[in-house]
């Protein structure tokens, strides 16, 4: 088994800062932005992105703009998977209409998680727009889904495994490809 580090800790930090800038730029500011992380690591990345936005935009209030969205119940592979743990969903506002929601996940692969996330999101209301931010886009999409903000595009083979390690859950911080 060979392992290859494609992003180190600093690369990840830089990518997060860059994505945060891009989000604010595309949104023409922070008005009505709602950042939602997809468990598990998407939640940490969303947290960091929101922190980075807040740092440069004093009007951006985390308690009304950062949340998490569990997509387990909306997955299309529920039947074949053992009982997955369900984690809490927190939408920090009572109404998401007129909000621009940025979904955050660590790796974009088949697109099925994001499809589930879109279904989960509409049970909470009708957002104005939904964007997608991912740390790594490894290709091999099975659905017509693309990311708006990408930390790094990583062409991979289907058999390769990508593991994202973040300081919140892991000892180190890196993105590693193993064969």
């Amino acid at each position: 088994m060979t392992a290859r580090t494609v992003l180190d800790a600093q690369d990840i930090d830089r990518a997060i800062v860059r994505i945060s800038h891009e989000i604010v730029e595309a949104n023409h500011g922070t008005d009505n932005l709602l950042i939602l992380g997809i468990p598990t690591r998407g939640v940490y990345l969303a947290n960091r992105i929101a922190q980075a936005i807040a740092k440069n935009n004093p009007g951006f209030e985390l308690e009304h703009s950062l949340g998490r969205l569990d997509v387990t119940m909306f997955r299309d592979d529920l039947k074949s998977q053992p009982n997955r743990a369900i984690s809490p969903t927190q939408i920090p506002v009572s109404d998401i209409t007129d909000r621009t929601v940025v979904l955050v996940d660590d790796v974009l692969f088949s697109g099925r998680t994001i499809r589930a996330a879109l279904d989960a999101l509409v049970t909470h209301g009708r957002p104005k727009a939904v964007r997608l931010a991912v740390l790594v886009d490894r290709g091999h999409r099975e659905l017509p889904i693309r990311a708006d903000y990408v930390g790094k595009n990583l062409p991979t083979s289907v058999t390769e495994r990508i593991s994202v390690k973040l300081t919140e859950t892991d000892e180190e911080q890196s993105v590693v490809i193993t064969q």
Partner: protein, 313 residues
């Protein structure tokens, strides 16, 4: 877990997993669209051989919120001697393709019988059998206690919580399932009731037994759960009459005052206001009776999800 027949089949870990899942389902029930696609395409049959509109509706809403198709079969008093047998009813519905049966039956053990037979491959959920068990009621009661005593986001057990269950223990499936589950979760459970309705052998099911409600209430319970007393008990010499029952075993205004608002008041419903529980008590801030009903949907969603969301192995 393939079936939910008795709390005996549910380990402590499994019970906590259901309660924690139900906590998430409570959140789902506050969303704008209260529907999850998890059981899309599954068929849940409510097989009710005994009237119970509230339990049936609760299961029906739970299944529909998970996108399952629901069919209702109601056959009060059906038996071998009168019309179709349980076996033929199950075989018929099985042949139409049912993934789960929620069984409510006037005979104790009817869901166990279906599960143990080769009549059906479906998942069996006990929706209350005779005077035996009502496991989803116990789960919703445990969730209600946890939310009220420990907060909505708590994910732990009920260690040390003192629960008093009052009334017709002999005929109560709610009492049996609660005693089993709450003790599994670490609670201390006591029964109180007239000795005709609280057999001596009840000491095998709970930690404490009282034949005098006032004496029981002096022992600082965190939860007091009143059971419905059927009017037919008065006619078969279990209890002299309803006035005496209320005087000795009812949660009256006076007894409630003496509790000083320290205990959570619960009732599985439907209530006989003025008989086992005073109206003011049922409507007080200490009462969790309407939360029990709403938690019922969340718990049944959690049970259906855990039993049906994956292909049976």
């Amino acid at each position: 877990m393939k079936h939910l027949l008795s709390i005996d089949d549910v380990s402590k870990d499994e019970a906590l997993a259901i309660l924690n899942l139900a906590t998430e389902m409570r959140e789902v029930n506050t969303r704008e669209v209260r529907k999850l696609p998890a059981l899309n395409g599954k068929v849940v049959a409510n097989l009710f051989f005994e009237d119970s509109t509230r339990t049936r509706i609760s299961f029906e809403i739970a299944a529909k919120r998970l996108s399952a198709d629901v069919v209702n079969f109601t056959a009060k008093g059906s038996s071998v001697s009168k019309g179709e047998s349980l076996k033929d009813t199950v075989l018929t519905l099985e042949a139409m393709g049912v993934d789960a049966f929620v069984v409510r039956h006037h005979h104790s053990g009817a869901p166990q019988k279906i599960a143990a037979s080769n009549w059906s491959k479906a998942t069996i959920i006990n929706g209350g059998d005779g005077t035996h068990e009502h496991p989803t009621q116990a789960l919703l009661d445990a969730l209600t206690m946890r939310v009220r005593l420990k907060g909505a986001s708590d994910s732990g057990d009920l260690a040390g919580v003192r629960v008093l269950i009052v009334g017709d223990i002999l005929h109560s499936r709610v009492a049996r399932s609660n005693a089993l589950l709450l003790r599994k979760l670490g609670a201390i459970v006591a029964f109180a009731g007239p000795s005709t309705l609280l057999p001596r052998t009840a000491t095998t099911l709970v930690d404490e037994v009282y034949f005098n409600l006032d004496e029981a209430l002096e022992n600082s319970f965190d939860v007091v759960m009143m059971l419905r007393v059927q009017s037919e008990r008065m006619n078969s010499s279990f209890v002299p009459n309803s006035v005496e029952y209320t005087a000795l075993f009812g949660l009256t205004d006076e007894r409630f005052e003496n509790l000083g608002g320290k205990a959570l008041i619960m009732h599985p419903g439907p209530m006989n206001r003025g008989l086992e529980i005073a109206s003011k008590v049922a409507d007080s801030d200490s009462s969790a009776i309407s939360e029990q009903v709403s938690n019922g949907v969340a718990v049944r969603m959690a049970v259906l999800y855990r039993l049906l969301a994956q292909e049976s192995k």
